[in-house]
């Protein structure tokens, strides 16, 4: 009886490990591939670990025409987008959750309704607007549309802010605290978990964004990482060692973020589903 039970557990965990291998394998293989010289990559066993960690692919990619610049562009644009989306989002979410003003609920329904608009519907008109404003090929064009406040993040934070005990806010007001003090001294510390969540969502969105930067930049000086990887892929077609190294440069920061914040990420995904 006990032996049968042990066997069942072993089988269960073996099964879980196999599934985990499927999810992790592409990362591991890309990692192996990026550290192999081209000749080894085309050997008969592409799944084998590199014999020595050959860094030639990375130096070739990193110091090739402007790759470091694209990495910097992505970091800059993602940073601006994240700061704006979270900062302005906190302000709006606070107003919708904790302030009373005429038209509040009507306005919030308008925000919610925009969640139905698919991203691609706004791409053509946004490009037209950016052209008219002579903003194409600028950093502004890449991050501005997603920076002033995004309904989804506002919605997420509003739900959380509403669940905070209202006595804290009321007593602060009777003590004569200004809205600004309430925001910085009470709301932000108490809303920390959801603010971290919103920050992660904004960062990942900005880092991965592809279609919009692809359209709104055509010069190379403002190009972002995703666009340059796609371009590398089409121009270096079969030089997989180089494109794999470039892809890994884009993937690793998110991996580090995931390792650091996995608990918050898992919880925040569940939060975003349950609150709908």
């Amino acid at each position: 009886m006990a032996a049968a039970k042990t066997l069942k557990y072993v089988a269960f965990y073996f099964c879980l490990t196999l599934i985990a291998a499927v999810f992790v394998a592409p990362y591991v293989l890309a990692f192996f591939g990026a550290f192999k010289p081209a000749s080894d990559l085309y050997s008969s066993s592409p799944w084998a670990p590199p014999r020595s960690f050959y860094t030639g692919n990375f130096s070739a990619v990193l110091f090739s025409d402007g790759f470091l610049r694209y990495l910097g562009n992505t970091a800059l644009v993602t940073g601006a987008l994240t700061a704006g989306q979270v900062g302005f989002g906190v302000l709006a979410a606070y107003a919708f959750a904790r302030l009373e003003f005429p038209g509040r609920d009507g306005l919030f329904s308008v925000y919610l309704a925009t969640l139905m608009v698919p991203n691609v519907v706004t791409i053509v008109p946004l490009y037209t607007m950016m052209r008219e404003l002579h903003l194409t090929n600028t950093y502004w064009a890449i991050f501005l549309p997603y920076t002033l406040g995004v309904p989804y993040t506002i919605f997420l934070m509003r739900q959380y802010f509403r669940s905070l005990p209202s006595e804290v806010f009321d007593s602060a007001r009777t003590d004569g605290a200004s809205e600004r003090q309430i925001l910085t001294k009470i709301l932000v510390p108490m809303g920390r978990p959801i603010i971290i969540t919103a920050t992660l969502i904004a960062f990942v969105f900005g880092w991965n964004n592809f279609l919009w930067p692809l359209i709104v930049t055509d010069s190379t000086s403002q190009q972002v990482l995703t666009v340059s990887i796609a371009a590398l892929q089409s121009s270096f077609g079969q030089q997989w060692n180089l494109v794999l190294a470039a892809s890994l440069v884009a993937l690793v920061p998110l991996l580090i973020l995931f390792a650091l914040f996995q608990r918050q990420i898992v919880r925040s995904i569940q939060l975003s589903g349950v609150n709908r």
Partner: protein, 295 residues
């Protein structure tokens, strides 16, 4: 409320909502109006636009490529959503128990969600490459000569769908897990006493009580699935022979490669309409089914 109080409250709230209001109006509402207006014009971004009435919509019904793109998209959604949802549900069932180290596995299953679609599409292109790809190397070990996956009009789209399934199965698993954890254990205990098998318990208790979660997962995934772009752009560029030209790719190439702004706008609105109808149908379908209240 005394007159003046409302104005004062509005004035107090305005600094907080102003930035987001500017953002929502300027970058979401105004663009929807502009795209509607543009769909009635013929324009190439350069020469002055001229009014063509419904011509862009009429042309859309006459040319196969729009319907082809919609059909390809629907085919992709069918390869993506059912498998992805079943994978997510299966993973949630596996992990929804009290055993050690399951949190660790949960994290590993969610990991692909955090990858950059463009970068991961490069990695998968390499693995599914016809000549030097890892998949075909593995098949060769079994004595099978693998096909040119991404060069085949039959296989390219399912491969792209599989990449999406890999990326989002674990992510969706989290919603099902969260849903399962709200089901009171007493329901299962009562069913066990009545002699219900585990399969029966799943179909009679778990699945009906996951109705709301299922609706959320399906609605958000279908909306996302209809807008697939990055993976297609990197892995196949819509090819071979337009076998993977999904609607988003068609809109992109119409608007930004052929510079036919009016047609691209009309197509965007068509996609918007399709997504609205499907979302509405999903809501109707799940509302008519019995919902259970658990206190």
């Amino acid at each position: 409320m005394r007159p003046g109080v409302g104005v004062r409250r509005l004035a107090a709230a305005l600094p907080f909502i102003a930035p987001s209001l500017v953002g929502v109006v300027l970058f979401l509402l105004v663009p929807v109006v502009i795209v509607l207006v543009l769909s009635f014009f013929r324009w190439n971004f350069l020469t002055p636009p001229h009014w063509v009435g419904f011509a862009n919509y009429v042309t859309m019904t006459k040319y196969d490529h729009v319907f082809h793109a919609l059909a390809v998209t629907a085919y992709y959604v069918l390869w993506n959503i059912p498998i992805q949802t079943l994978m997510a549900l299966g993973l949630a069932i596996l992990l929804n128990r009290n055993l050690p180290a399951l949190g660790f596995f949960r994290v590993l299953y969610v990991l692909p969600f955090m990858s950059t679609p463009v970068a991961m599409a490069v990695v998968w292109s390499w693995m599914f490459n016809g000549q030097s790809g890892l998949v075909n190397h593995l098949l060769l070990l079994a004595g099978v000569h693998g096909p040119d996956w991404l060069g085949s009009t039959h296989l390219a789209l399912p491969v792209i769908a599989m990449v999406s399934n890999w990326q989002y199965a674990g992510y969706n698993m989290l919603f099902f897990l969260a849903g399962m954890q709200t089901i009171p254990p007493s329901l299962y205990e009562a069913a066990s006493i009545d002699g219900a098998s585990s399969v029966r318990r799943f179909f009679r208790i778990t699945l009906p009580l996951l109705n709301a979660t299922m609706l959320f997962v399906l609605v958000t995934d279908v909306i996302g699935s209809f807008q697939i772009f990055d993976t297609v752009y990197v892995m196949t560029q819509g090819g071979p022979a337009s076998a993977t030209t999904v609607i988003n790719y068609q809109i992109y190439s119409t608007g930004f490669r052929n510079f036919d702004v009016g047609a691209a706008s009309a197509m965007s609105l068509l996609l918007f309409g399709v997504i609205l109808v499907i979302t509405f149908v999903q809501f109707r379908f799940f509302r008519t089914r019995t919902t259970y209240e658990v206190s």
